[in-house]
Amino acid sequence: MTQRRRPLSPEAAAVIRAQQAAGRFSRRSLFTGAGTVGLGAALAACGTSAPASSGGSDEEPSAVQDKSASEKVVNWANWTLYLDYDESTKTYPTLQAFSQETGIKASYDEAIEDNDSYYAKIQGQLRNGQDIGQDIVVFTDYMAARVIQQKYAQELDQARIPNAGNLLENLKTVSYDNGRKYSLTWQSGYAGLAWNKEKLPQGLKSVDDLWKPELKGKVEVLSEMRDTLGLIMLQQGVDPSGAFTADQFGNALDVLDEQLSSGQIRQVKGNSYTQDLISGDALAVIAWSGDITTLNAENGDKWEFAIPEAGGTMWSDNMLVPIGSPHKANAEALMNYYYDPEVAAQVAAYVSYVCPVQGAQEVMLASPDKEMQALAENPNIFPTEADLAKVKVFRALEGTEETEFSSEFQRVLGN
């Protein structure tokens, strides 16, 4: 590899930009919604908790007074395993450094299990413009698009985030937020295939390899519609970033239904598929890129991740300031801090997802730490052009499509 100042080739960048019709996926549904036990179970068992019934969106919530100057705090809601963490001190090193540097007390909450459930949880308060107790939330493209469209996010003051200029060129303009007025990328990643390389030394090349008889009952796929069906559609020669039809979506769904009914697929999971890889219940899965790197680091080098030959999906998670947050300036300071390449490199080394900050790779290459240097060559953190050419971004679903497709998908999942 030669010059890697700009990790993306112009054509790959163009591909991605064209595909930023902004669809994407929730990742990481820890325990498939176990966090929602209280509400769901209570609702189901005795109905003592009522859902906030939603009326129309006639009045738009307006932003509140910014109290950042007097209240030196910022509250950040993020996904699990998504920020560098020091096991021995039980702290987030980069976050602590931020607090020392700026005097802003940062609290970090792994509150988001997946896009859908977190959105459902905060939507009622957002609609009324209330403070949800978080000043930064992280949503995947399609959900960020919804939140911005519903005017639930505050406009960012670019002057306070000079480091935002370090954002990868291809992510600077996305269809749902032209010019990044409301959002800033946290991390990106792929969905592809992962397998246990001790048990399956020959590996997997395509989604169809998952349906081999010898893998019966040992396959798991993601509960994220856009990842699992995106991959199956690509295998069927349908581009999930293009204008596919409901029939083409249905064809992919039929494959999933058939493999579930025959018992080929053991279970459909969110983030917890990694536990089944560890226990051996699953040998081959549809997986998220960064998880496999983390898994190999923590449980012995046993698994391999690859983007299928027919292509994989790509997504980004984005930081947003919710409408009721009274600490927007503090949130902006935090965003600015994480767009410093030095800081971004530390985060990337831990989370192993695609780093959206230019210059982080150089920082890692120049690091005296051998491990850091090796990670700078990890294609899951700094994508190769070949990989980027193979991945697609699931297109935005229009109007009723969103509800219809997810309803059909849930039906196949037995819900």
């Binding site: 769901g40 003592t48 959105y119």
Partner: protein, 300 residues
Amino acid sequence: MAALTPASVEPDELPRASGRQLRTVLLLLIPGLLWLGVFFVVPIFTLAGTSTQTPSGSGLPGEFVQTFHLANYWDAISAYRGHFARSFFYSILATLLCLAIGYPLAYLIAFRAGRLRNLLLVLVVAPFFTSFVLRTLAWRQILADDGWVVSALKWLHLIPSDLAVTASPIAVVAGITYNFLPFMVLPLYSSLERIDPRLIEAGGDLYGTSFTVLRKVTFPLSMPGVVAGTLLTFIPASGDYVNAALLGNTRTTMIGNVVESRFFRVVDYPTAAALSFILMAIILVLVILYVRRAGTEELV
């Protein structure tokens, strides 16, 4: 059954309350009524409202308008009949298993445990010290295909070599049984423990075999515990979705899972609310039928 109850146990008639006592009673009721009003009555009307809403037409997920569209109920029933049937099948099965396991256990603790009684009671409650999600997750590790339990059973040829224990209906029912067992054991214990031992001795004196005494004396006297235990197990079990989500697969989903997915994944609040109401109605009917049949005046 009433005939078996010794006359001395019969509760005295409540004395008629004077005006002042009535005021005290009302004052004492206020916190409870407020609680019920705020957290039960108001939500249940909101939920009823939600269950008859229809999409607002904006095309955005999660936006509905109140239209009193009662057809939501019919749509929900026809789409999820199978899930209701499965939920009640699993929860009734688990309740029976709980009773079968819990009764001997409660009997042992009440009559045969001697000095170990308190220790055994603590052990029954001990699992509550850990989060029940964690305990359920632990079962997934214990019963994993390559885990030692399943490996050992396979090595002994007790189960076929290609059988997976987790991600199956067996695991879901077992999970529910395990998680709700204490709710069965504790009421059973408290009603067995209150039985006057002289009645059991009398059964023996009248030449009843120990089995006959159990069947004709002990079990009928423990009916309040049986009814309380089965209700405490059955009602939450039919709405449970954690066990199905963690131990089952996509072909073992219960109605709770559907409510969860409708609510959080599809953002279809009306269907989720309608399903909750239908579930409540079915449980209510089943419970009324059951309590009438089991005839438990002593319960109250």
